[in-house]
Symmetry: C2
Subunit: 232 residues, 2 copies
């Protein structure tokens, strides 16, 4: 990561914003993440992304086997600008692609479902390592592919007639509870220095107008300096 690019771009945002970025990036985590399968109602997926931002969960995985996801701006309130969104929308089993990608990055695959109850939310073992929570569609729930590849099944205790929570509600309860436990634990949930710089760079790019032109200028100047050094 070229740290000096961050310093260079930081000139173009206010001190207040720079401080905000630095404060918020300290709270970000990749220890937990979400993967959303083909959510029909855009307000649901948008609400999940807003929740991720509010709770400091940096990554969201959007799986599009059948439905294309378009954020609902009134619900998402720009959350996708601040998150790292991973989209899976090739022909084929995109759930499997997401599972592979997450396993490569050492995530446990956790199916959230009201029909399996191997682990109840308050008993979920965070110490066992990073976890990706999979949420299925409103009507059918998780796909066979997600259920097949899940390492664990997680359930929120239900006390009423309705058999499941709304997806955005389910994600919020799980992420709220587990991020709170995480933050007060000894687990290293924070981003690494390198990840932090990557996220800061993304935020600067999304905030600054024509950041691509500024970046080009930065690299040209740098090239010039290097050439000068060579000449010297």
């Amino acid at each position: 990561m070229d740290n000096s690019l961050i310093d260079y771009l930081s000139q173009f945002v206010s001190t207040r914003r720079r401080d905000l970025f630095n404060r918020i990036v300290q709270m970000r985590t990749r220890y937990l993440t979400v993967a959303i399968e083909d959510v029909y109602q855009p307000h649901n997926a948008s609400a999940v992304m807003r929740t991720c931002d509010c709770l400091g969960v940096q990554d969201a995985h959007i799986i599009e086997n059948y439905n294309r996801f378009e954020a609902n701006p009134e619900v998402a309130l720009g959350a996708s600008n601040w998150l790292t969104i991973h989209k899976y929308n090739s022909p084929g089993d995109n759930t499997l692609e997401a599972v592979k990608e997450l396993k490569r990055n050492n995530y446990r695959i956790v199916a959230t479902t009201p029909h399996h109850s191997e682990v109840m939310l308050d008993d979920f073992d965070l110490e066992k390592g990073k976890a990706a929570f999979f949420f299925g569609t409103e009507k059918e729930g998780l796909s066979d592919s997600a259920m097949k590849h899940a390492d664990e099944f997680l359930r929120i205790p239900m006390r009423g007639f309705t058999e499941s929570f709304n997806i955005s509600v389910s994600a919020a309860i799980i992420l709220y509870r587990l991020t709170e436990i995480l933050r007060s634990s000894e687990i290293e949930w924070q981003l690494t220095q390198e990840e932090r710089e990557g996220v800061l760079l993304q935020w600067l790019r999304n905030t600054i107008k024509s950041s691509d032109l500024l970046e080009k200028k930065f690299y040209e100047k740098k090239q010039g300096d290097t050439n000068k050094e060579k000449d010297f």
Copy 2:
């Protein structure tokens, strides 16, 4: 409460359903309740009601100063059948009417807002007595009337850029966390015997076809029996 009416109507539902009713009513609470002010997006209010059912919160207060609430059946999944819904939709300040009604029933009025932070969610004192959580509209938040009459202000910790959670998300996090704490506490959160009978009667009435005719028959028979006793 006429207990024998419950016994009479119970004949008309399956044993399985009767057992379900009896099990779920034991989990119901009126110690916590929600009041929703003029939510624009019906899926939000519907999701709150579904959450209440799932978590065993029996009462929901719907305040309609400007907007009429119509449940979104795809989101609510019939939750309103199982809840006791209190609607406030007279001309005038319906928020004030809800506040008065709730205070008469010994509820603390708790404004949920990201802008006041007198109490953070995990520090909320459940021992102090029954609490009604007020949620405002998506854009303007709580009305001046709700803010003015609030006894306490409650906030969910925020770690990101977005300044507030979605309303249904906010209600879910608060109710999930506090009902879990409540259930493992020494507080008497359950319904009284009388309340339980009232709720069971409502559920039977909502479940049985032409329950009003059956009820009429029940009372006629009872009147007949009383007259027979008198004759004797």
